[in-house]
């Protein structure tokens, strides 16, 4: 069977599975729709959180990025896992005890203010939309490469599937579908990694393989070979990287704190039955995430060595373009690889200096990896199914946060307090349908800056939600004036810095012009510090939070008496 047929079969089978689960777990009430009835087992919840969290970006792009960045790629690895420690230790158990559906609900109630709630709704909707646009695009890219339909058709198919189970099943449908999607995506990620690890180093476990000796009998360590290749070709040493220490520090911190402040991740911890489960659930989630995140740097290393070897040939003199392996010609057709024969010798050559003749898009590494390593066709089809699963699961989670924020926090709590449970559910479904349509539109016509806006989303979450929630739990006195002033100044500072360097004056986007050498990706950390500082100063000069709110804070600090998450 050819790759095309196999891909149709495997992707089709996974779609049938997702739809089957959606029908089986249809939501009957707002409680089911928002928090899956509060009855999801911690292990299932951990898998769902992991699938929710690992987007098309984690699955498709991350290993490729690391492959090109070397050591510097650690900002993503540590940043996107370290946030779970903050979540488990500082947020999840308390928010679960607090027992509301959404992040805006916590902010609104803890700071006894509808203004604070509305600010939080706007932030949540904006953060989620920037994310979801990228996901829909991811679905489109995978479909267009492997099913050979155009990107628009690909996005529309993806929209249809997400619409079906997100609108029908709500959180309940999404949670159980995401469990299935996690299984698909992790298999799709691990299988090629294990194959390649065995081929290159003889080790079954890729995490050990990429720190081992090559299987060619030379006795050289894989990473030493890669360091050698990199310096010969005019790149920085793979294990050292090029970013400044302060920038790596700030980017890692912004991604960690941003992770802990992202509304679609936090809401996951409301779906477990107990506070104890919220703590456990964060552990399970990180375990499932770590499986992929510790494999990614191994894939990055294997792919880099393989790619350089195939393009430059064993003698490092270049390979003739007529003899190029099929993956190069396949991807040349999509425009993501291009070759320009500068010295006219008919051979391809890849390097980091003036000898370079290749342009290679970072995003193709994971998708091309099985082809580069000559793995069987079913593995390639499986990777396509994994990419689609990653993109769909994250989109569904994000859409749910958007619809909940609008139907519950904005309509029910602020604008139309008298609607019934049934009406609210209808509004939630309408909101997710509208959100899917907008997300699909953004996926088909992406604003030129989707990739930049994703970094923006982390910075925003880090500088707005995270400090407001932390202070809401750990300081009884923090009042609404402090929290609102903090959120607004943190988010404004971060947004202005990013907008200036990314959109107004991109030419100045170099380390010389950055404050303290911090890039726009890392500025969210400084924004968070601004938020904390402003909130503390303002709170000192205004009245303490009222007694009943202080009592509420005292109550969320221990687990006993945690009921189910409620709407009111």
């Amino acid at each position: 069977m050819d790759i095309q047929t196999l891909t149709f079969l495997i992707v089709g089978a996974t779609f049938a599975l997702y739809i089957g689960i959606a029908i089986w777990s249809r939501a009957g009430s707002t409680h089911d729709f928002y928090v899956a009835g509060g009855g999801v087992h911690p292990v299932a919840n951990g898998m769902a959180t992991a699938a929710d969290w690992m987007s098309a970006a984690s699955f498709i792009s991350m290993a490729g990025l690391i492959s090109f960045m070397g050591y510097d790629g650690a900002v993503y690895l540590m940043g996107w896992t370290g946030g779970y420690v903050l979540l488990a230790l500082c947020l999840a158990p308390y928010l679960r005890k607090f027992g509301k559906f959404t992040v805006p609900a916590f902010i609104g109630d803890r700071y006894y203010s509808n203004t604070a709630r509305t600010v939080a709704v706007i932030c949540a909707v904006f953060v989620c939309f920037t994310y979801v646009a990228g996901q829909m695009r991811g679905v489109g890219v995978v479909f267009s490469r492997f099913l050979e339909v155009d990107i628009t058709t690909g996005v529309i198919i993806g929209m249809g599937i997400v619409f079906f189970y997100a609108v029908l099943g709500g959180m309940k449908g999404i949670t159980y579908t995401q469990v299935a999607q996690y299984c698909v995506l992790i298999c799709a990620y691990l299988v090629p990694a294990i194959f390649i690890s065995i081929m290159m180093t003889g080790h079954v476990i890729p995490q050990i393989g990429f720190g081992s000796e090559l299987a060619d009998g030379s006795g050289t360590y894989l990473l030493d070979k890669l360091d050698g290749l990199s310096t010969e070709l005019g790149f920085a040493e793979y294990t050292s990287g090029t970013k400044s220490t302060i920038d790596v520090f700030f980017i890692t911190a912004a991604l960690m704190v941003g992770t802990a402040g992202l509304p679609h991740v936090i809401v996951r911890f409301f779906t477990v039955p107990k506070v104890r489960d919220a703590r456990k659930s964060a552990g399970w989630a990180l375990l499932f995430i770590a499986l992929l995140y510790t494999t990614a740097p191994a894939i990055a290393t294997f792919a880099r060595v393989n790619m350089i070897d195939t393009i430059n040939g064993p003698e490092a003199q270049g390979t003739a373009h007529e003899e190029a392996p099929s993956w190069i010609t396949n991807w040349e057709a999509t425009g993501l690889i291009s070759w320009e024969d500068k010295n006219g010798d008919g051979k391809m050559f890849y390097s980091g200096d003036e000898r370079n003749e290749m342009k290679i898009d970072r995003d193709i590494m994971v998708m091309a990896n099985p082809e580069i390593a000559d793995l069987p066709a079913w593995v390639i089809a499986l990777v396509a199914a994994g990419g689609v699963a990653a993109a769909l699961s994250t989109s569904a989670g994000l859409l749910l946060v958007i619809s909940t924020s609008i139907s519950h926090d904005l309509l029910k709590r602020n604008l139309m307090p008298n609607i019934t449970d049934k009406q609210e559910l209808t509004y939630a479904r309408i909101a997710s349908a509208v959100a899917i349509a907008i997300a699909g539109y953004l996926g088909i016509n992406p604003p030129g800056f989707v990739a930049q806006v994703v970094a923006f989303a982390f910075g925003l979450a880090a500088s707005s939600f995270f400090p407001a929630i932390i202070m809401g739990i750990f300081s009884k006195r923090m009042n609404k004036e402090g929290a609102i002033a903090g959120m607004i100044s943190g988010i404004t500072f971060t947004a202005l810095y990013i907008v200036y360097f990314k959109f107004i004056n991109p030419a100045a986007n170099t380390p010389d012009h950055w404050w303290f050498g911090i890039s726009p990706e890392g500025i969210g950390t400084l924004g968070m510090i601004v938020n904390f500082a402003v909130a503390t100063v303002v709170a000192r000069f205004t009245a303490d939070a009222p007694k009943d709110v202080q009592q509420l804070v005292a109550d969320i600090r221990f687990p006993k008496g945690a009921g189910e998450a409620t709407a009111h």
């Binding site: 009835g37 009855g39 690391i66 050591y71 790629g73 650690a74 690895l77 540590m78 896992t81 370290g82 779970y84 420690v85 488990a88 230790l89 500082c90 158990p93 995490q207 990429f210 720190g211 081992s212 000796e213 360590y221 894989l222 990473l223 030493d224 294990t239 050292s240 220490t245 790596v248 520090f249 890692t252 911190a253 960690m256 039955p273 107990k274 506070v275 104890r276 703590r279 456990k280 964060a282 552990g283 990180l286 375990l287 770590a290 995140y293 510790t294 740097p297 005292a554 600090r557 221990f558 687990p559 006993k560 008496g561 945690a562």
Partner: protein, 105 residues
């Protein structure tokens, strides 16, 4: 107030904070310390084919993160019991019954 005394509530919170800050100290030390600030120093040490600093940045810190969450969950459950503020035992059964009902429908 679910605590037996005011004093208990205060002690429980203090113990919780102390544990949280210790674990966050480890969290900071492995990721920002070993993986970023002291990466060059650690890179002079080898762990098989890995330079140690590089290994912490791309592998080790993630394993430590996982261990931290497990330690926290276990210790907090013990602390809840010590101060008698853990969730009741009846609840899991109720929860399972509810689930059963759900499945048999």
């Amino acid at each position: 107030m679910s605590f037996e005394t005011e004093q208990h509530a205060e002690d429980y919170w203090k113990e919780n904070l102390r544990m949280m800050l210790t674990l966050l100290g480890v969290w900071f030390a492995v990721s920002f310390g070993c993986g970023i600030l002291f990466v060059d120093e650690l890179n002079t040490i080898r762990l098989g084919g890995f330079k140690l600093g590089f290994w912490f940045a791309q592998q080790g810190s993630i394993y430590v993160f996982l261990a931290l969450i497990v330690v926290y969950a276990v210790k907090m459950n013990k602390l809840d019991r010590k101060y008698n503020v853990h969730e009741d035992h009846e609840e899991p059964e109720e929860f399972e019954e509810a689930l059963e009902e759900e499945f048999t429908q």
